[in-house]
Assembly symmetry: none
Homo-oligomer: 227 residues x 2
Amino acid sequence: MNANIHIVEDEQSIVTLVEYNLSKEGFKVNSSTNGEDGFKAIKDTNPDLVLMDWMLPDLSGVEICKLLKKNEKYKNIPIIMLTAKGEEEDKVKALNIGADDYITKPFSFPELLARIKALLRRSKPSVAEDIISFGDLKIDRITRKVYRANKQIDLGPTEYNLLDFFIKNPKRVYSREQLLTNVWGDNINVESRTVDVHIRRLRQAINLEGTKDLIRTVRAAGYSLDN
Amino acid sequence: MNANIHIVEDEQSIVTLVEYNLSKEGFKVNSSTNGEDGFKAIKDTNPDLVLMDWMLPDLSGVEICKLLKKNEKYKNIPIIMLTAKGEEEDKVKALNIGADDYITKPFSFPELLARIKALLRRSKPSVAEDIISFGDLKIDRITRKVYRANKQIDLGPTEYNLLDFFIKNPKRVYSREQLLTNVWGDNINVESRTVDVHIRRLRQAINLEGTKDLIRTVRAAGYSLDN
DNA sequence: CAAAACTGTTACAGTTTTATTACAAAAATA
DNA sequence: TATTTTTGTAATAAAACTGTAACAGTTTTG
């Protein structure tokens, strides 16, 4: 498991708890504490799954859910709604507005985890799977080994994370900023040009003599794993 | 034998008895006295085998069994159902809902043990076996002796446990935290750096002059038994 | 075509992570 | 209880990795 999860929740205690536990499970977690920021961050970072409070300051979780599900580009991001009241009625409503699952507070972490995993397995096998391939490039998250044309490749931690991120959404172009937040983490302070250097290192490691560069540079936009 | 077994049973006398005897056999045993807790604990600790009462307060054993067998992640955990009545009909029912074996109370401990071993041998050879190898490294759980290239090696208790854990999932990378909780135990207070020292001791003991290090360091991730 | 904007590459200093060692305290054993 | 073994930690050394800056090269724009 190596998915990016975005939490939109104004109760700091829940954010802290969930963030801590999900990180321990190997997820990359980002969070926002209000609807406005949350919506922006989701569009920006394209998480693999969203955990969202039902009620939120300003833009409500319900609204965001509707907006996302209406948008072709984001409609496939699974959304789990969190709510304080355990009314059946709300559950129906949640599913109606397009949420993929629904969990009532207080919830146990294992329960949340089970639901997250189930959703991910369904919606994004490439994120949930332990072994992913792209062409003759293979990455094994259990052994943390990377192969190109069946030959093992050594990657440093950052290059490994970068590749792991790229391979979840091949061909998609990510800006340096998106790569920084998704691979490096949220409130980190790193020059965006630093991405270039790691891209170079990754290229050097995964590209084979005489074959096409697996990483495509998109001028003024960013990079993508492509062929 | 070195498997984790979880018991879900509300009769304390049975729990105590079975727990005591299984521990003596080398199993790690945990137990819950009601269905709710049991289900949670099983999902949480992912035991190698479950021993479950047919009738339970709140969530019944039958229900838990069904739930587990429906879940991709837990469906392979072997389940032995315990029941007071020895009716053939129940046996059929048990097997129908996915239980792997069925034993009626009162039962003799040797009988239970035989069934447990049989199931484990079938489902998880690496856990059930008394002698496990990885390459020319061999570990005998009965005599608690370790061999490399047929020559016996002396290991301290912690190094032995570490190796025993590694060898169950060779090549898999474990973080220091995972190693601490799995080898040292759950609520223990040990510096994660201490793992490094024991890794060194283990390396020193099992590695042969002039051969590749059997333990792989994965920077920013942990260690694995590899070659 | 020149200027501007953007990307590629390199080297290196600084940082982080891991390895190794020695040692005192704790635990097991005789 | 004395002796031996094992343990965890802290300190230091070594190795690996990272980020930046500088400059070269390339592409786009005016």
